[in-house]
């Protein structure tokens, strides 16, 4: 049993080192960007003029070796955080990101205490 579990862990950690290709980053990135002229649609899904322009910018910048974060920063400076579908992890969004997990852990904890008491 222990051998099996450790095998799983080893295999999992091995596979985490796989590198992402430029194309994968491109898709991931454009899926996270809002088409500003569309109705709640991502750049990836949209063929609007705006999306085509941003797609080209992203492609060029990836070719120049810029990272995903660089490109996101570049666009956020101009269009605001609104362009990112995944809200940034900052003070403003702290509650948004933390509260679900905080409540999960808290309620798990309370449940655990109750279980222990009942035993």
């Amino acid at each position: 049993m222990k051998i099996l579990i450790s095998l799983i862990i080893i295999l999992l950690s091995l596979s985490l080192f796989a590198e992402k290709s430029n194309h994968q980053t491109f898709i991931e990135l454009t899926k996270n960007l809002r088409c500003m002229t569309c109705q709640n649609q991502s750049i990836h899904e949209s063929d609007a003029e705006f999306s085509l322009v941003i797609k080209k910018i992203v492609k060029d910048k990836l070719k120049q070796g810029e990272s995903k974060e660089d490109i996101e920063d570049f666009l956020v400076q101009r269009y605001g955080e609104y362009i990112l579908f995944e809200p940034m992890f900052n003070y403003k969004n702290l509650f948004l990101w933390v509260s679900p997990f905080f409540i999960l852990i808290l309620s798990g904890f309370i449940l655990f205490i109750n279980l222990k008491r009942n035993r």
Partner: protein, 622 residues
């Protein structure tokens, strides 16, 4: 003529419900049942009048003028009656009335509870009638004289418009009855077996229909929007998901409530929560304060009214809950792994998922109001929060139905554990030969574990069960079957999102393009001319390793009445995979096409269908 007819019967519905509310405080309390049925009669006439106005293309009716066209097929004319904001709100009232009408025939509940339930439902109906009459009447007369309508939004001109909104509303609005029954229970302070049973029946019914409605909506989005996806975490979707999640918690809670006062109180709370979420959700999508990919009519002034209804109804209900909720105490028999514990975990997880969806939907509004900045909260956020949150609940799912009430043990424990480990090992090794993804492995692991676990249990029960009444067997095992459906659903979700392949290119006539092991050939472009649109149908031949597989026919339509272009994805399904093709614009290099290969995507709707059916089937038990 029908327009006026509809208007006055709607007015009568308002009146009857007003009297019905009043009659609850007079000497003739029995009469409230009569009023409730009378109200149903009036609203039916009103609703049918609207449908008839659409069928006969009566453009003297402003709503018909704005949302219909004489060239539309009869099917869409009928469905056009609920294709607009106004009409759909009339459908809303109709559904509320339908539920209370059916409820009025109940014979198991004490009259006292029944009366109060009708009373509360009448208040809701009254408020919504007022809302429709004052802000969004579908019975306004057209100020100008015209012979032709503006036409229905082309995206809505789809067979699913006939069935999706009514089904969705039967679920979504059905929670209003559950809330009314809960409030009736609170105010009479008389919550016993029959109350639980009735709540159980109606919540299972509404929830199952909501499941079907949401699944159908996602299928519609899948082939209509043409982005190869079926769920976009769009506000309109989230809003239907929230009551669904809360309803899920409610349905599970009710399954064991018989035994416990604490759970009764909890079930009442959930009943109130479900419909409150329906109300706030309706506000969010109808007020137009959020943008959505789905076509939806919206208006700010109309939003305010719904918001006030939400506020009044929800505050009142929660206050009543605070004051009158049953006070008896007894604790739950929570053990490390028995049914009550599994249930608590289910509830925590589902409500937390619901909370997260709600937070993600509402957070941009809070931020914009306080900081004058706008943030987007989209799919990446929900995938990163909701999915990890529901994981623990899903892990429990394959075994939960067979857990015992009291004891800490369950049979064949080791089999499950070994199966889980073995499965994960197989999956990880397999993943080395294809694309690796943590979500992929987790999803597949969960799905296979749930499917195998539930199947194992179903067969165990089947062995014990030697009788011939298979229908009875299905009914009593409905929770296992529903969980089996969830397993399929997760399998479909995981494989179609993680292992989806996407290609785009331009193709010329008769050209053959290769996409990995598949190739597509554009045979010809057909022009079709229908009454309401002109369409271009691309006829593509699909080959796998140069062997002919089938034809895919994606379409582009130009709707004449509103000069709009829509896409209809072409889908070829061979059970295992969906080959999904969208045709785009034409340029120098030919037609732009997007080609998706979605493995096992059909399991999503198969799974949801099984969940729906098992929910409906379980009703026969009562």
């Amino acid at each position: 003529m029908f327009t006026n007819f509809g208007f006055y019967t709607l007015l009568l519905t308002l009146l009857v419900n007003g009297i019905s509310i009043f009659s609850n405080f007079t000497g003739f309390k029995k009469i409230i049942i009569f009023f409730c049925r009378l109200s149903f009669m009036f609203i039916s006439i009103s609703f049918i009048s609207l449908i008839i106005s659409f069928i006969i293309s009566d453009f003297n009716n402003l709503n018909v003028f704005q949302n219909s066209h004489s060239s539309m097929p009869i099917m869409y004319k009928i469905a056009g009656a609920w294709g607009s904001h106004e009409g759909s709100m009339l459908l809303w009232i109709f559904v509320m009335n339908l539920y209370i009408f059916l409820f009025s025939f109940n014979k198991t509940l004490k009259f006292k509870i029944k009366r109060w339930a009708i009373f509360f439902q009448s208040i809701l109906i009254f408020l919504f009638c007022l809302y429709v009459l004052l802000t969004s009447s579908p019975f306004l007369l057209n100020p100008i004289n015209v012979n032709e309508g503006l036409g229905l939004n082309p995206i809505l001109q789809d067979p699913l418009l006939v069935i999706h909104p009514p089904l969705l509303y039967l679920g979504y609005v059905g929670f209003s009855l559950i809330m009314s029954i809960a409030l009736a229970g609170l105010i009479t302070n008389d919550i016993e077996e029959s109350w639980i049973k009735v709540t159980k029946i109606w919540s299972l019914f509404s929830w199952s229909l909501l499941t079907a409605g949401i699944a159908m909506g996602s299928y519609w989005a899948y082939y209509e929007l043409g982005w190869g996806g079926w769920w976009f975490w769009d506000p309109v979707e989230n809003v239907s998901l929230m009551p669904w999640l809360a309803g899920l918690a409610l349905v599970h809670t009710l399954s064991i409530t018989n035994h416990n006062h604490f759970l009764k109180r909890w079930a009442i709370f959930l009943s109130i929560l479900c419909f409150s979420l329906s109300l706030i959700g309706t506000f969010l999508v109808r007020s137009g304060i959020l943008t959505s990919v789905h076509s939806f009519a919206s208006d700010t002034t109309r939003g305010l009214f719904i918001l006030i209804i939400f506020f009044v109804v929800t505050t009142f209900s929660f206050l009543l809950f605070l004051v009158k909720s049953p006070k008896e105490k007894n604790n739950l028999n929570l053990l490390f792994i028995n049914k009550p514990t599994a249930l608590i975990i289910n509830n925590i997880v589902m409500l937390l998922a619901c909370f997260t969806v709600f937070l993600g939907t509402i957070y941009p509004i809070i931020i914009e109001l306080s900081l004058n900045q706008r943030v987007s909260i989209g799919a990446p956020y929900f995938n990163k929060t909701v999915i990890p949150i529901v994981l623990p609940g899903l892990l429990l799912m394959s075994i939960a139905p067979i857990l015992s009430w009291e004891s800490n043990k369950f049979k064949n424990k080791l089999i499950y554990i070994y199966a889980l480990i073995l499965l994960s090992l197989i999956l990880i090794i397999l993943s080395f030969f294809s694309t690796f993804s943590v979500f992929g492995i987790l999803g597949l692991l969960l799905a296979t574990w749930i499917i195998l676990g539930t199947l194992f249990n179903i067969f165990q029960n089947l062995r014990k069960y030697k009788g011939k009444k298979y229908l009875f067997f299905l009914r009593t095992n409905n929770s296992l079957i529903a969980h089996f459906g969830v397993g399929l659903l997760i399998l479909g979700i995981t494989s179609s999102s993680v292992f989806q392949k996407e290609y785009s290119n331009s193709i010329k006539l008769n050209e053959k393009l290769n996409f990995d092991k598949y190739s597509l050939q554009l045979k010809k472009i057909d022009v079709v001319d229908k009454d309401n649109y002109q369409g271009l149908v691309g006829i593509f031949l699909l080959y796998e390793k140069n062997k002919f597989v089938g034809e895919i026919k994606p379409e582009k339509r130009f709707y004449k009445s509103n000069s709009m272009i829509t896409t209809e994805a072409g889908i070829y399904n061979n059970i295992i995979e969906d080959f999904y093709l969208v045709i785009g614009d034409r340029n120098k290099e030919g037609w732009n096409i997007k080609f998706y290969v979605n493995p096992l995507v059909i399991l999503i709707w198969l799974g949801a269908g099984i969940m729906f059916l098992s929910g409906i089937m379980s009703l026969w038990r009562f």
